[in-house]
């Protein structure tokens, strides 16, 4: 155990942990919103995120080609804007598809929750494998040569050819905070505030809250629950698209199973903050990211998940509904 190391590099571990946690938080929003409305864990949400990361890389390859370069964050803002739009559209599309294929038919027939859960897990595997077999899918249409830059070696790591070099801005402690750190954390907080305002202020937001509170009463008051559920998936997908863009700015590489570990972490973040609670999702993500880095510093990197999950257990022991509790809907045992 190396506490001296933690204290000597406290700022660096905390800020990089926050940047990682911000991405967890954005993905966690998708889990928490669907849970708030349907009381279901959308296990395929990690794949919604994964498709977003590929959309980012594809857009970069499309506009930039495959030649590798290093650029600064602000030199690529235009390209990143396009990436963001593509990732949000792709993720939202996958989320809507998921709702249409894996959820709506089952919910309409009043299937037990467990069945819907299993359907989501199945959808998760299917989506990941579709991405992992995209070279063969392109092959069915005879496009594998034309699309070689996008589909060849489908199971391998797929990297954005433009590497974004972080630029140090100012010092906190002995760590030089970079523009990428600030950008990622800032963007996540901004999206969070925007979404929170949306759910609180708008008509659709009110619909989401009412379905979360009491679906039957909401239906009696004329809320179209199918439309609300679809909107919830859409918003979750859009947030996952933002998370995917930020992830690609920081990490730069993805692969067909990239969603899995991140999805588990994001789900944990959602539970940690209080599942069903929007602000809780971001808070849970940030806490998880920081705890993980501190844990890695003290016990070694292979222990970081142990530390994160022990923290989860401890918090749930003290506060079974998570740090901020459930606020979107009614109290659920």
């Amino acid at each position: 155990m190396d506490f001296a190391f933690l204290f000597n590099h406290f700022a660096q571990l905390t800020i990089t942990g926050l940047a990682l946690g911000a991405i967890y938080g954005l993905v966690a929003l998708g889990y928490t919103m669907v849970y708030g409305v349907l009381q279901l864990i959308n296990f395929a949400h990690s794949e919604v995120f994964m498709f977003g990361t590929f959309a980012v890389a594809w857009v970069v390859v499309f506009f930039h080609g495959t030649g590798q370069t290093n650029q600064s964050l602000f030199g690529t803002l235009g390209l990143l804007g396009l990436c963001l739009v593509a990732a949000m559209l792709t993720s939202a599309l996958i989320a809507l598809l998921l709702e249409r294929v894996a959820y709506r038919p089952l919910i309409k027939k009043g299937a037990p929750k467990l069945i819907v859960l299993i359907s989501a897990i199945g959808a998760s595997f299917s989506l990941a494998e579709v991405m992992g077999l995209r070279d063969r899918i392109a092959g069915w249409f005879g496009l594998q040569d034309d699309l070689a830059n996008y589909v060849s070696q489908a199971r391998n790591v797929y990297s954005s050819p433009v590497t974004i070099d972080p630029k140090g801005l100012f010092d906190i402690g002995n760590y030089r905070v970079t523009d990428v750190d600030l950008f990622v954390i800032g963007a996540a907080v901004l999206m969070m505030v925007g979404l929170d305002t949306f759910v609180r202020r708008t008509r659709l937001g009110r619909g989401i809250r009412s379905v979360a509170q009491d679906p039957e009463a909401a239906a009696l008051m004329g809320v179209n629950s199918t439309r609300v559920i679809r909107a919830t998936f859409l918003i979750g997908g859009l947030m996952a698209g933002v998370a995917a863009t930020l992830y690609m700015i920081r990490i730069g590489s993805t692969r067909q199973n990239a969603g899995f570990i991140l999805g588990v972490k994001a789900f944990t973040a959602a539970v940690l903050g209080g599942i069903g609670n929007l602000r809780g999702a971001l808070l849970g993500g940030l806490v998880l990211g920081v705890a993980q880095n501190w844990g890695a510093a003290v016990f070694g990197t292979n222990w970081q998940d142990v530390v994160a999950f022990v923290l989860l257990v401890v918090i749930l022991l003290v506060r079974p509904t998570g740090i901020l509790g459930e606020s979107l809907g009614k109290a659920r045992a």
Partner: protein
């Protein structure tokens, strides 16, 4: 209602039984046909060719490590296509068993493989973990295997007479990497990182042993991890002038990228698991430049990649050349008319030839006799696969 349902059920059961009985009879008849068929075919097809001979591949072709397994399958397919072009009257085919790299999934597949009499040899298993979990089964059945990629030292210490590998083990590579770090790179403070896998941990521990007191710190990351900020903080905080990583390219690429972004200026070195063009792609050209990757294999001949691309439609990758060589050993055995497992195993054990990955001959444990460890350099944003330096 209830009575009726019951009768229906009984009727159905009867029906099922009858179908089963019919199926069983048909099955018996088929088996009978099958056995006469095969005996007649061996009787008529005199000469070296036995129809329907197969090679098996056991390893990951889907799942997290699917990319590595597909590199190997590509190498085997190239070897088969070259062989089948020359022996159009006697085609050999490949049967792929996908373990996803998981030792537990590999075990039942090994049983399936040894029960298939048309399989004359196994290329694989792909990884060290699955090699250790299946070696006993293959040894008991006498089925010879040649692994293109399992490098864990303990596998060949198990006393399995059928197990071979065409790649040098981790101990040789680890010692060579340590030599390179101390003698060529002249580093004095080395940070050793591994990914916790049988392969990565093993290799890193041999490097650690070779470096002795020059190791300034160690850390273990996880496969599939993409954010290494804690590890990066440890490395930069330790003032290390060299980093050795035992693991695969996906994590290695991201690790070196994040190290360079945090201002790390020293040497980055890793083993054969990272010697793949995707390492450079994941790291970005600027971060990957200067990285040294050791591998117990010489450069592939210039035309290997183009031939590979013609057959598989994608570029070759890590372990493609070794899988090509492993398949060719069995194909040479088939051409020499070795049909029984025992004959084939003797043939493999005493095989000696020049493969695309280097000279191939096995010692009595199944390890490759002559394995030169090469250091590959990333230059100008490309992994220079053509001009490695041998480490002595």
């Amino acid at each position: 209602m209830r009575g009726r349902a019951l009768t229906e059920e009984i009727l159905q059961t009867k029906h099922t039984l009858r179908t089963l009985a019919a199926l069983a009879a048909a099955g018996l008849a088929l088996t009978a046909c099958g056995s006469t068929d095969s005996s007649s075919s061996t009787a008529t097809d005199s000469g070296s060719c036995t129809a329907g001979q197969k090679l098996a591949f056991l390893g990951a072709t889907t799942g997290d490590y699917g990319a590595l397994g597909q590199n190997m399958v590509g190498g085997i397919k190239l070897a088969l296509s070259e062989y089948n072009d020359k022996h159009s009257d006697c085609q050999v085919t490949l049967k792929t068993y996908d373990s996803q790299g998981d030792p537990d999934k590999a075990t039942p597949l090994a049983t399936q493989i040894v029960q298939d009499d048309s399989i004359v040899g196994l290329v694989g298993p792909g990884f060290s973990g699955e090699s250790l979990s299946t070696g006993k089964t293959f040894n008991a059945a006498g089925l010879p295997s040649v692994s293109p990629s399992a490098t864990n030292v303990t596998i060949t210490q198990q006393g399995w007479a059928t197990w071979h590998r065409v790649i040098g083990n981790d101990s040789a590579q680890g010692a060579a990497a340590a030599t390179y770090i101390t003698d060529t790179a002249k580093a004095s403070k080395v940070f050793v990182i591994d990914d916790g896998s049988d392969y990565g941990k093993g290799l890193a521990s041999y490097v650690h042993d070779g470096l002795g007191s020059k190791v300034t710190g160690t850390d273990t990351v996880q496969t599939g991890q993409t954010d290494f900020s804690a590890t990066v903080t440890k490395v930069t905080g330790s003032g290390a002038d060299a980093v050795f990583y035992g693991g695969y390219y996906a994590e290695a690429g991201l690790l070196v990228k994040q190290l360079r972004q945090a201002g790390y200026k020293g040497l980055f070195m890793s083993g054969d698991g990272s010697e793949d063009p995707a390492f450079v792609k994941a790291a970005g050209a600027a971060a990957a430049n200067g990285a040294i990757l050791t591998a117990p294999a010489g450069p592939a001949p210039a035309d290997f990649d183009s031939k590979y691309q013609d057959v598989n439609g994608s570029p070759s990758g890590l372990y493609s050349t070794q899988a090509f060589d492993a398949a060719n050993i069995f194909l040479a055995g088939i051409a020499a008319g070795k049909t029984s497992h025992a004959d084939m195993n003797d043939f493999v054990g005493s095989y000696s030839g020049q493969g695309v990955s280097g000279p191939i001959a096995f010692d009595k444990y199944g390890d490759i006799k002559e394995s030169v460890i090469f250091a590959y350099t990333v230059k100008n944003g490309k992994l220079d696969t053509a001009n490695p330096t041998p480490i002595s």
